[in-house]
């Protein structure tokens, strides 16, 4: 429906408009630019100067020289870069989801990328973070987010499946090619046509798979986590199978699609090494990825690298759904003290990434079905670096979200990271996940029971789980508990 890209407003707005239709910020130069959610102003206004000599040229945000910014984005006076469209991008999915990506304060460009597509009670979200030691990491994150996002559209809505039956024409079929977003990573896709409205029955067996007790035990049992060491084809095949099986947990089927999407993104990033600048071959573009597909209460997610997904309840600490592929996480797993490990200069060295030199990638995936309303947060390390503590993370997110729209909340989180130093690019995506509306209060009360009779079979299927090369121990074994417990 809407494509919101603040810095591209110049392309979107009507001629002569004084304010941006999307974010309400002044398009006029000078005055209000430096304030606002996108730190470091001046990125607003016209994107590309159609006529370098025109009087419409922007003022330089650095030296304040009027009409000094040339067509290439550099100030004709002081030479400083006035800003790129990607420095601050926002995607507004209304009440369904929102995402914001920002350059931060210390990096010269935004090497993070994001993708957000929303439908009714459905969202596809991807956050990628370019590995700055590689060449053109911004290209890597861009193509990864776009490719994964497009592939996530294949994740079927379980309700469609029940209603429509045939696998493969769920949500994906609803997206005509014309729906394809123009700008990578910034698209918000409307899926309001997604009209299937199954009731509680349709979601059947998965109810209660995620058991939101304070200890989160049930959730862990239901969550399937493993390395999907499959090729993209394998993962896709598995995903298809999961859907075709019909009796697999919907969330697990979604996770299969996520795994396939990440594998597809990996291929796309690998292909970059042999295109464009020859230096790419020597230091190939690389990035991390965390992706999630939300279909009603069902959430499938996966990741490679140290971009994270969190789950937030109404109270309590945030639960880190992902486990960083990083040196620190590795050391913690081997028994090192977490605080010491994080203080090590190598802490942030990632042990897995997407790129030509990454070898065969092993995206790890997880899936769950929400039984309580909660908030799914995907973010790059530009945010979580400032909030290593899950309590503080949850508190900050709740703080930023209180009384605000999702987009404003995402902006507030970006501002928080910028105030804290903005040492890295910051990307935050927020997706509220709603538990199935109970037909009566009785459902809620009867949850423990549901957890037993519905949750266990789900876990059993997870063990044989299709989305990844399922290790039987992965599902129910608490010893294989997710990273969230480490924090």
């Amino acid at each position: 429906m809407i494509v919101v890209d603040c810095a591209s407003c110049g392309d979107e707005r009507d001629a002569g408009a004084a304010f941006c239709e999307a974010c309400g910020r002044a398009l006029e130069i000078g005055g209000s630019a430096p304030s606002g959610a996108g730190e470091g102003g001046g990125r607003l206004g016209a994107g590309d100067d159609p006529d370098p000599s025109s009087a419409r040229r922007r003022a330089c945000p650095h030296c304040r020289a009027a009409r000094a910014v040339g067509a290439d984005g550099y100030c004709e006076e002081c030479g400083m870069l006035a800003g790129r469209p990607r420095d601050h991008i926002e995607a507004d999915g209304g009440a369904v989801a929102a995402a914001v990506s920002d350059r931060g304060r210390r990096h010269h460009r935004n090497e993070d990328a994001m993708w957000l597509a929303v439908g009714e009670a459905a969202a596809d979200v991807v956050v990628c973070d370019g590995v700055s030691a590689s060449f053109d990491p911004d290209a890597a994150s861009d193509i990864a987010a776009r490719t994964a996002g497009e592939l996530l559209a294949a994740a079927q809505h379980p309700e469609d499946e029940v209603a429509g039956g045939a696998s493969g024409d769920g949500l994906a079929a609803l997206l005509s090619p014309g729906d394809k977003p123009e700008m990578s990573g910034t698209a918000v896709r409307d899926r309001s046509e997604s009209s299937a409205h199954g009731d509680g029955q349709a979601r059947g067996g998965a109810e209660g798979a995620r058991h939101e007790g304070p200890a989160g035990k049930g959730a862990e049992e239901a969550r399937h986590e493993d390395s999907a060491g499959e090729s993209a084809e394998g993962a896709r095949h598995d995903a298809d199978e999961a859907v075709a099986d019909g009796d697999a947990t919907p969330a697990v089927a979604i996770a299969g699609v996520v795994a396939a999407a990440i594998a597809g993104a990996a291929e796309a990033v690998v292909s970059l090494a042999h295109t464009g600048d020859p230096r790419r071959a020597a230091s190939n573009p690389a990035c991390t990825i965390v992706a999630a597909a939300v279909r009603g209460p069902h959430v499938g997610f996966g990741w490679v690298g140290d971009s994270r997904a969190y789950w937030l309840n109404a109270d309590g600490p945030a639960e880190q759904l992902t486990e960083d592929d990083s040196w620190a996480a590795h050391m913690v797993k081997l028994g090192a003290d977490p605080i010491e490990a994080m203080d090590d200069p190598r802490a942030h060295a990632i042990t897995a990434w997407l790129g030509a030199d990454a070898g065969p990638i092993m995206p790890r995936v997880g899936a769950f079905t929400a039984t309580h309303d909660g908030l799914l947060v995907l973010c790059s390390d530009g945010l979580w670096n400032y909030l290593p503590d899950p309590e503080a993370f949850a508190a900050t997110v709740r703080d930023c979200a209180a009384g605000r729209s999702l987009l404003e909340a995402a902006r507030a989180l970006v501002s928080f990271a910028n105030r804290a130093g903005g040492a890295d690019n910051i990307t935050v995506a927020l997706v509220p996940v709603h538990a199935p509306a109970p037909p009566a209060a009785g459902q809620h009360a009867g949850q423990p029971a549901a957890g037993q009779h519905a949750g266990q079979p789900a876990a059993g299927q997870l063990a044989a789980g299709p989305p990844a090369a399922g290790s039987p121990a992965a599902g129910p074994d608490p010893a294989d508990s997710p990273a969230a417990e480490d924090n």
């Binding site: 550099y74 006076e77 030479g79 400083m80 990096h107 010269h108 230096r279």
Partner: protein, 421 residues
Amino acid sequence: MSYTAEAFQNEYLALGASEVNAIVTVTSTGAAGGVRTAGATEIIIVDASGSMQAEGRIGAARQAAKAAVECIDDGVHFAIIAGVSTAQQLFPEPGRLAVASPETRAAASRSIDRLQASGGTAMGAWLLLAAQLFAQRPGDIAHAILLTDGDNGERFGYLEQVLESITGRFTVDCRGVGTNWKVSELRKIATAMLGTVDIVARPIELTAAFQQMMTTAMGKTSADVQLKIWTPVNTTVRFVKQVEPQVTDLTGKRVEDGPRAGRYPLGSWGQESRDYHVCVQVTPGAAGDEMLAARVSVVEGDTVHAQALVRAVWTDDTALSTRINRQVAHYTGQAELASAIQEGLAARESGDDRTATLKFGRAAQLAHASGNTATSELLAKVVEIEDPVTGTVRLRRRVNAEDEMALDTRSTKTVRVGRAQ
């Protein structure tokens, strides 16, 4: 004629760093079918001083000049100057330019046969006459060949004065025959006039040298190409050097062109590729700042053919700021190689063997490391290279003057580095 310009650099600077280095490669595909966009004028200046009688030089010079005349394309304007104590036009009649055709080339050859060696050497006067002849054809690709075998006999400072007044008006390729001429003198001319300098040790080799120079000159299709460099305020261009095919410092040739921009003459161009090292001094920025340190354009008059951006990005990530760009490192080494050789030769001449050994040692090391085998071989005739890796050399007792001069004139020749970073 279409040009491309590409900048190679590590744009990441450590916090506080203020020097930005980039290698800009300018390549032109040449005009379609090698058609010149401008007219062309060729002038051949042959030293006819008395010393040219030795070793049959004047005879060889006559042969060479005739061979060069044969290489001149039809329609190109040309003239031949006989260099004695004053400049005398040998062909066509004084003050005129001939248009190349089978008839004029034959007439020129007959004139050359009358060339006799007698008198002195007055390079300033020769160049001045050439400049006057070139002035008749503004906008032409203007190229001259200067052949000499001895020292300039004009009063001290006169040649420099002349060069200053004619610089940029035409290109001069200088060739010294024998070993009685001064490399520094011809280099002065070649540098000022954007040409080359080389030794032709034996007169018999002159014909090939002249043919080669003339063929190259005929391949030029654009007369006056310039590098325009824009820099932001509070930024200065520290130097601009051509670093490939040979090292030539262009820094002093800057002509201001509008606010914060200057032009550096590149001379005439054909289908070729050259590398330039641009070094800019900027005001350090904060972490995350990105600055356009220089916008380098290839221009011809008001036409901008190609553009490359030299950027500066400040980062606290030392993994990025300590990356070494291969191009910059390579050509920095090649420039150092040239100066090490020249300083070594100067030290040797002044009897400072210690400094000479050090400089030649460094040169041997650089030549070896960069794969500049041609320079390594020339160097090996002047010093014994014991270990090129550590730069251990021993001065040779007896060195042929021609080997020494060849090393000197060719010290600025560089080799190209691979494109990948």
